[in-house]
């Protein structure tokens, strides 16, 4: 019976993926992509990868949907009414199939990695959640660089702004009818999302959750508040915004350098202070991730209608 369930889920995921790439309307592809994220989250949950399922649900169903729908609305506003007819792309299809086959081959052909026993090493990190322990201790380099990559992506988006717009608030000038459905939603969701996002960060130390998942939920909250016109969007030059953007990578980097100064390796957290230190880094990372993601989706400063 559970085999039938897995087959049904796989079939649905494949159908949705096909729907996203085969259809010709841009809007339909966007909607299929949103549902694709939802189904992937269920797939990861089915595999028992709770933290991945959580990240996929938050990113795939939450932020990507808004990002793509906003982009579609912007295209329409620039009177690109219909997307240019795109024929089948044999090059992309071949590359995609080749990558999938190579990955499948690697999965079956390569020997299973013999990692040192994680359960034995986990107490050193002070964390109960193996994913958080690995991310912030055994693979701290990757996590640090990933947090910097987010910042680099934001700089890339900001580079798209025109010089005249540079001091304008970020994104569009959102407005909504006072007391209307949208404005009310913008006041209703933030308290729920704030508690849920903070819970995810706190629970990530010992259970399902984590800085990235919590940060994504918080980013969604900020985004809804901005789109409902409840929260004014920040400006690029605002000191508070810049501080929030760099506090995560900054605290992480400083803790690594502090370990070097104390004669340990870079990014080494001694077991005695591992838990409090990890929590401080996680909270700082959450602030940066939340603000960076929200500002990424809001877009570069834009004062006027785009030039046609």
């Amino acid at each position: 019976m559970s085999l039938a369930l897995d087959l049904a889920l796989c079939g649905l995921i494949l159908c949705v993926a096909l729907g996203a790439v085969v259809g010709r309307g841009v809007f339909r592809s966007v909607i299929f992509f949103i549902t694709y994220g939802l189904l992937l989250a269920i797939g990861w949950a089915r595999l028992g990868a709770k933290d991945v399922a959580l990240a996929e649900a938050a990113i795939g169903a939450g932020l990507t949907g808004v990002l793509l729908l906003t982009a579609h609305g912007r295209l329409r506003r620039m009177s690109v009414e219909r997307a240019p007819r795109v024929g089948p792309n044999p090059m992309a299809a071949t590359t995609g199939i080749a990558v999938a086959l190579a990955l499948g081959w690697a999965w079956f052909a390569l020997p299973a990695p013999t990692a040192p026993d994680l359960a034995a090493a986990l107490p050193l990190t002070g964390m109960g959640n193996p994913v958080t322990g690995v991310l912030l201790h055994f693979r701290a380099w990757d996590t640090l660089l990933e947090s910097i990559v987010l910042l680099a992506a934001l700089l890339g988006v900001w580079m798209l702004a025109r010089d005249v717009d540079w001091h304008a608030p970020l994104g569009l000038r959102y407005h909504a009818r006072p007391g209307g459905v949208l404005a009310s939603f913008g006041r209703l969701l933030p308290p729920i999302g704030l508690s849920f996002g903070s819970y995810l960060v706190w629970a990530g130390a010992d259970g399902t959750g984590g800085a990235f998942q919590g940060g994504t939920v918080l980013a969604a909250v900020v985004l809804v508040a901005m789109m409902a016109g409840v929260l004014p969007p920040p400006r690029v030059a605002q000191g508070g915004l810049r501080a929030a953007l760099v506090v995560g990578p900054g605290v992480f980097l400083l803790s690594g350098l502090l370990a070097v100064a104390l004669g340990m390796g870079f990014l080494t957290l001694p077991p005695a202070v591992a838990k409090p230190a990890t929590l401080i880094i996680e909270v700082a990372l959450t602030v940066s991730i939340a603000v960076t993601l929200a500002v990424l989706v809001i877009g570069p400063p834009d004062d006027k209608e785009p030039v046609r």
């Binding site: 549902t35 569009l172 000038r173 407005h175 949208l182 999302g193 939920v217």
Partner: protein
């Protein structure tokens, strides 16, 4: 008991498949969007049953979907307004102009 939970999940997946049919056929953009919202709701249900089946921690994932699935609808509604930043409830439209024709066009031929 597990058998019944499995059957329940299969039934929920079948309802998701029905929503996907609507995403494919439309015809209006709002039809596709509402179908996506149905997939979100069905996803919360599937995850809740999977939580009973496998691991109660999956309820957190279901909760995350429940909090965030409505976000896409906000993005959609915003994109439907003339300046992509407004609210369909606002009258009169702040930028004036071709609001009505846009709305009609958007619902008539959702691409």
């Amino acid at each position: 008991m597990t058998l019944w939970l499995h059957i329940l999940v299969l039934g929920l997946l079948a309802s998701l498949a029905g929503a996907l049919w609507r995403v494919w056929h439309g015809p209006a953009q709002s039809d596709r969007m509402m179908a996506a919202q149905l997939v979100g709701t069905g996803g919360v249900a599937v995850l809740s049953v999977l939580a009973a089946l496998q691991d109660w921690d999956l309820l957190v994932v279901a909760l995350a979907l429940a909090v965030l699935a409505a976000l896409a609808a906000v993005g959609f509604v915003k994109a439907q307004t003339p300046d992509s930043a407004g609210d369909p409830e606002e009258t009169p439209p702040p930028t004036g102009g071709d609001r009505r024709s846009r709305a009609v066009r958007a619902t008539a031929h959702g691409d």
